[in-house]
């Protein structure tokens, strides 16, 4: 049985059709989705995580329908999302941010160390750089111990050194956690994803 099944999902914003009958399934491993801006990648991830409601279609996670379920309930089932534009708790420290998601001090510290944000543990989120914010967003996602992680453009705003840190981290976690990763550039996804889709105009136009 597939872990995630997306069945004929469509999404319209007013008259604009952003997703058209998107159907795919994921058993496990890492699925890469690439495509130009406006192709519907982010909307698709937001629909799976519950932050957007589809105009029609169904989503099943481990056989359970999660279409239109509240995001906080979907998280509890094991799907976590890392946003392209970081959504963190701006007036809390980096450590407090991760602790809220991890719920265990040791695990929170472990994630911070692995994602290279241990040196800014006690800085508030509104005091750190864009690149570190991106790492913090990933830390929040993985601190939830998800079964499926939805990573929206995780390499955007990162310098070469941090891209390597993230790639290395995702490769290691890829054995135990399934992921859907979106990116503009296929180069970074190729070494990571076991399967890739290209999206254009709200449709999956190619899979490899």
């Amino acid at each position: 049985m597939a872990m995630l099944e997306v069945v004929r999902i469509s999404k319209m914003f007013g008259k604009d059709v952003v997703l058209k009958n998107v159907t795919f399934s994921l058993k496990n491993g890492i699925l890469g989705i690439y495509g130009p801006n406006g192709s519907g990648k982010t909307t698709l991830l937001k629909i799976i995580s519950g932050f957007e409601k589809p105009s029609c279609g169904w989503i099943f996670f481990n056989g359970k329908e999660i279409t239109n379920m509240a995001p906080q309930k979907i998280v509890k089932l094991g799907i976590a999302m890392a946003f392209q534009i970081p959504r963190v708790f701006w007036n809390l420290t980096v450590y407090e941010n991760v602790l809220l998601a991890a719920r265990e001090k040791d695990y929170a510290m472990e994630i911070c160390e692995e994602l290279n944000i241990k040196d800014i543990l006690f800085k508030k989120a509104n005091e750190i750089s864009q690149g570190k914010l991106k790492l913090l967003q990933l830390a929040l996602c993985f601190a939830l111990k998800p079964k499926l992680a939805l990573l929206d453009e995780p390499f955007a705003s990162l310098d070469a050194e941090n891209v390597e840190i993230v790639l290395d981290y995702l490769r290691r976690r890829g054995d135990e956690i399934s992921m859907i990763i979106t990116a503009h550039r296929t180069k970074l996804l190729k070494g990571l994803a076991s399967c890739m889709f290209e999206m254009r105009g709200g449709k999956i136009v190619r899979s490899s």
Binding site: G50, F89, W90, N91, L92, L100, L140
Partner: protein, 280 residues
């Protein structure tokens, strides 16, 4: 650090001094202390939850009225949360105005509350309570309010409340349901405002519609602004506003409006949690 300790010492001195003075000073001190509890209830809502209420006189006044009508009704005070919390549907930017308008509505409504021939514009007399008892109870409840806010703020639940304040979507993304978390925060704040309202009624021996007036609606905002939105400084600011209003009103009628005007000007230069979720 030095200023912080000095402010705390000053507050404790202010708590003790009135014990040695006459009825008038004690009533003044009780009034300031009760409004200090009212202010920290407001500050908790603003600082930890990010909601700036200009209608905090609703839980304050409704509880005072319930107590005046029948002291047994004071157990309904925490339910005053349900009068203010629904206004949060308007969002953080509209909430101050919506809550203020709602408090004005209560001000109007209070003129028409009559029970057993009592009430109306005259208001209600409250069971006679010895001022010394009210004062010591106020001191105890002030300390209780401070400890409650401190403990809740430092707890895991307090961290969740601050997370919801900063970004509700981010909170949902890590599995926090914002609604019950916000509701809990509002209940703490409204319950403390209710305690202050009941003490106010007990100290003065009556409750009239003016308890919903802009003087009370805006008081916590004014004291918090003067106090730099820090808990202990706000307590000191409450004493300052009440003291100045009492002593200078015979010379400058309605002197508190001057303080209020200055506070509103000052607020435009200072930064509140409620204004923005970023860069606070």
């Amino acid at each position: 650090m030095f200023i912080d300790i000095t402010v705390r010492i000053l507050v404790f001195v202010l708590l003790i001094i009135p014990v040695f003075f006459d009825y008038y000073i004690k009533l003044l001190a009780a009034s300031a202390l009760i409004l200090a509890i009212f202010t920290i209830s407001w500050l908790y809502l603003e600082r930890d939850l990010g909601w700036e209420s200009f209608g905090h006189s609703i839980p304050f006044g409704v509880s005072a009225y319930l107590f005046a009508i029948n002291p047994l009704l004071l157990f309904l005070s925490p339910l005053t949360t349900f009068l203010l919390f629904p206004l949060s549907v308007f969002g953080k930017s509209i909430f101050p105005f919506a809550s203020f308008i709602f408090s004005v509505f209560f001000w109007y409504l209070a003129h028409h509350i009559v029970v057993d021939g009592r009430g109306g514009e005259e208001g209600f007399k409250v069971l006679s309570v010895n001022l010394d008892h009210v004062y010591f109870l106020s001191v105890a409840l002030f300390i209780f309010s401070y400890l409650l806010i401190w403990k809740v703020s430092e707890s895991n639940l307090g961290l969740k409340i601050k997370a919801v304040r900063d970004d509700e979507i981010a909170a949902r993304a890590i599995g926090i349901n914002p609604l019950p978390v916000k509701m809990f925060g509002f209940t703490i704040s409204c319950s403390l405002a209710s305690i202050a309202g009941i003490l106010h009624a007990a100290a003065f021996g009556y409750v009239s519609p003016s308890i919903f007036s802009p003087y009370f609606s805006l008081f916590p905002f004014v004291a918090a602004t003067i106090g730099g939105r820090k808990l202990w400084s706000c307590v000191l600011a409450s004493y300052l506003v009440v003291g100045l209003s009492w002593f200078l009103s015979p010379y400058v009628p309605e002197f508190h409006y001057i303080i209020y005007a200055l506070a509103i000007i000052l607020a435009s230069f200072t930064h509140g949690y409620a204004r923005s979720s970023k860069n606070i």
